[in-house]
Amino acid sequence: MSEPTNVIAMKQIVKRFPGVLANDHVDFDLRRGEIHALLGENGAGKSTLTNILAGLYRADEGQIFINGQRADIGSPRDAIAYGIGMIYQHFMLVPSQTVTENIILGLDEPRFFLNLPQAEKRVAELSKQFGLHVDPRAHVWQLSVGEQQRVEILKMLYRGANILILDEPTAVLTPLEARELFATLRSMIAQGRSIIFISHHLDEILEIADRVTVMQKGRVTAAGVSPKGMTKNDLARLMVGREIVFALEKKKMDAGAVALKIERARALNDRGLPALRDLSLEVRAHEILGVAGVAGNGQRELSQVITGLRPLVSGRIHLGAYDLTNKAPGEIHELGVGHVPEDRLGTGLASGLSVMHNLILRRYKQAPIAQGIAINWHTARKVSENLVTTFEIATPGVDTRVGALSGGNTQKVILAREISTRPDLLVAVHPTRGLDVGATEAVQKLLLQQREAGAAVLLISEDLDEILAISDRIAVIYDGQIVGEMRTDEADIEKIGLLMAGAN
């Protein structure tokens, strides 16, 4: 047997950022016609490594060989010329333009006049060849997330990319869409293309990858091993360097009285279009209600109307005996609502301020921190230091700028602030998105503790595994309505997937 040819060989890649060694002498190779998974926690250096291939960063040391030839990739343009196409997690598509316009954007040909009909024909051919169904003339804003991802892939295939890098491609997809994507990926490798697949979903890697390279803190801990015969626990150990408990301890608990009650809520999105259409739901004390759904179906607006960040057009929201409808955010919080928002550094925290300032944001108006119109900084510091210890926030000190902390620790700062005021209702939006396995576990435990302490928890998440793991009931949101509700122990993944996709 002859040695399989490497389409990419990266040798001893070093990349430094101020204060961080993101890639520490990393070796990586990709064979023709394989799916090579790149596995690691956040901050392990996967994205840095692939961004070097995609031309966004330049390696400080090391060499890259493409088809055996030394390559110098200085820009995204160079990467495309080498046949490398990167598909980002956040789609790089212009919503107001059509599929075809997005695909030919930035190409040297046509030189001057756009010949759209001709380009549309080629797009249609490519989409047929790889089973990537999408209307070449549709505007991107009309497409579902799954379709937009197909456009991204087509964009790279149109440029003649032989090597595709997919950065956590399934994070935004429904289970059904993910399966379609996997079928497409298999058909692409069958046609001689090669794929680098970044993920921290261990199940996916076991399902799709031919080989896997695991990274931890900038180093490779397993280089190009076959996942055959490996278990999730094996992979997790390679990734984290310790055992991970996959089954969280969830105590059996009877739900209490209705805490949050939303009746026929209607609200508009930022564009002024209906986002919530007569949405009703209830969450009880001692209960976690998981709201599952594909992004953009009203989740954001739902969390905002509850917490007072977005006006209700009609409908009512009650928390126990209190009416929250269109109250101010501060008042809603005082009535017992805690909020872990989607955008941690933008909405959740004042990223330029210190850990202490952020931790006291909810309580600086009350004694003991408030003393008349002044703030007792001595007490504030003590309170903050206590919270840092209790919630195991890894920070050099309470005076550290909160924006300088890692994702997991910024989330812990928010949770510490919101939970320590003992809310009756906690609204948590994508609380573990982008967090590594260790931090995810910590955040999920905190949510479960809230449930045990008697709070109602509304968990909005795109991660179905998370919802299945910690919620008591599941509500599926689609197009601004709850289209299905079920108890988690009776949940059927197929059915949830269909509901998420809008099928009745």
Partner: protein, 324 residues
């Protein structure tokens, strides 16, 4: 010529200056850069054009100087908002003050200049004989009016049907996507801000050298720069609608004058004829509409619904969250 032909004929001439300024602002905004300094750039263009023409005796040289002056001012804005990422509204307002102030100083004494050449005036044979449309569009018009006619389809085609236009739209809608495909976002934004400045300078020069020749200090442009900004919003960033808007606004200005000359409308006494104090309300009309448009345009949600470029007003930083 009847009453309406008169108004629209003047409207097309007035509107030509407005057209250039509006097209310039439209290009800059399509690239994602709001430039509120149009009035300042127009005044600089007007004074540079008129001053150069007075000094050299060559109107075309004057026009070129006007375009350069507008372009120079816009480059200041480009550096401040694209490279230094300052607030576009603040920088644009500062540019208005700077341009207007400089123009008034440089224009000191220009008002009394005599024998300054103007740009040629043409009539198109045959076309100018058409009833109504002849006098309105083709009879006795400045050469720049005809340049304006050509500019409308060219810009439309450029924006919607060429590769460069596709890149322009992408940079204003989602610069990160353009960047990821190897398009130089900064270079394109510089280019279109500069193009906007050159067109605003051309608009200023068109006024002093052709449409209403002469230098009348800040009254030379009489707020056209602001109307242009409002027109971009009215036009929903479309060049054809912008052109229609420019000619209509130009006509509206003339209408406010002519309407004072009629005694009776359908047998009812015209209040503007009999009470001269009411003329202020008429003259206010174009500006009141401008303020209305700017109010509408300043609401982000409404702006989005009107189809404003999604990244309008936002600086671009590669790889940073929160920027589009």
């Amino acid at each position: 010529m009847n009453f309406w032909a008169n108004i629209f004929s003047a409207g097309v001439s007035n509107g030509t200056a407005l057209l250039f300024a509006t097209m310039g602002e439209l290009l800059a905004e399509r690239a994602g850069v709001l430039n509120l300094g149009v009035e300042g750039m127009m005044l600089m263009g007007a004074v540079a054009a008129y001053g150069t023409a007075a000094a050299t005796g060559d109107a075309w040289l004057g026009l070129l100087a006007g375009m350069l002056a507008g372009g120079f001012l816009s480059l200041l804005h480009a550096v401040v908002v694209i490279s230094l990422r300052a607030d576009q509204v603040v920088s644009g307002l500062a540019l208005t003050f700077l341009g207007a102030g400089l123009a008034l100083v440089l224009g000191e004494g220009l008002a009394s200049a005599r024998g300054v050449p103007t740009l040629p005036i043409y009539s198109i044979p045959l076309l100018d004989q058409m009833p109504f449309f002849g006098p309105v569009f083709f009879d006795n018009k400045s050469v720049l009016v005809f340049v304006g006619y050509l500019l409308i389809p060219i810009l439309w085609f450029y924006i919607y049907r060429t590769r460069a236009g596709l890149h322009l739209r992408a940079v204003g809608e989602y610069p990160a996507a353009a960047d990821s495909l190897g398009i130089d976002v900064y270079a394109l934004r510089y280019f279109y801000v500069l193009a906007g400045g050159v067109l605003a300078g051309l608009a200023g020069g068109a006024i002093t050298l052709s449409i209403t020749p002469g230098w009348f200090s800040e009254f030379t442009t009489s707020g056209y720069g602001w109307i242009a900004i409002a027109l971009v919003i009215f036009a929903q960033w479309d060049p054809v609608r912008a052109a229609v808007g420019a000619y209509l606004f130009g006509s509206l200005r003339r209408f406010t004058l002519d309407a004072q000359g009629i005694q009776n409308v359908f047998g009812i006494a015209n209040p503007f004829f009999y009470d001269r104090n009411l003329q202020f309300f008429l003259e206010m009309l174009p500006y009141a509409l401008t303020i209305l448009a700017l109010l509408i345009g300043s609401r982000a949600a409404i702006r989005k619904r009107l189809g404003a470029p999604a990244a309008l007003g936002l600086p671009f930083v590669r790889g940073e969250r929160g920027t589009l």
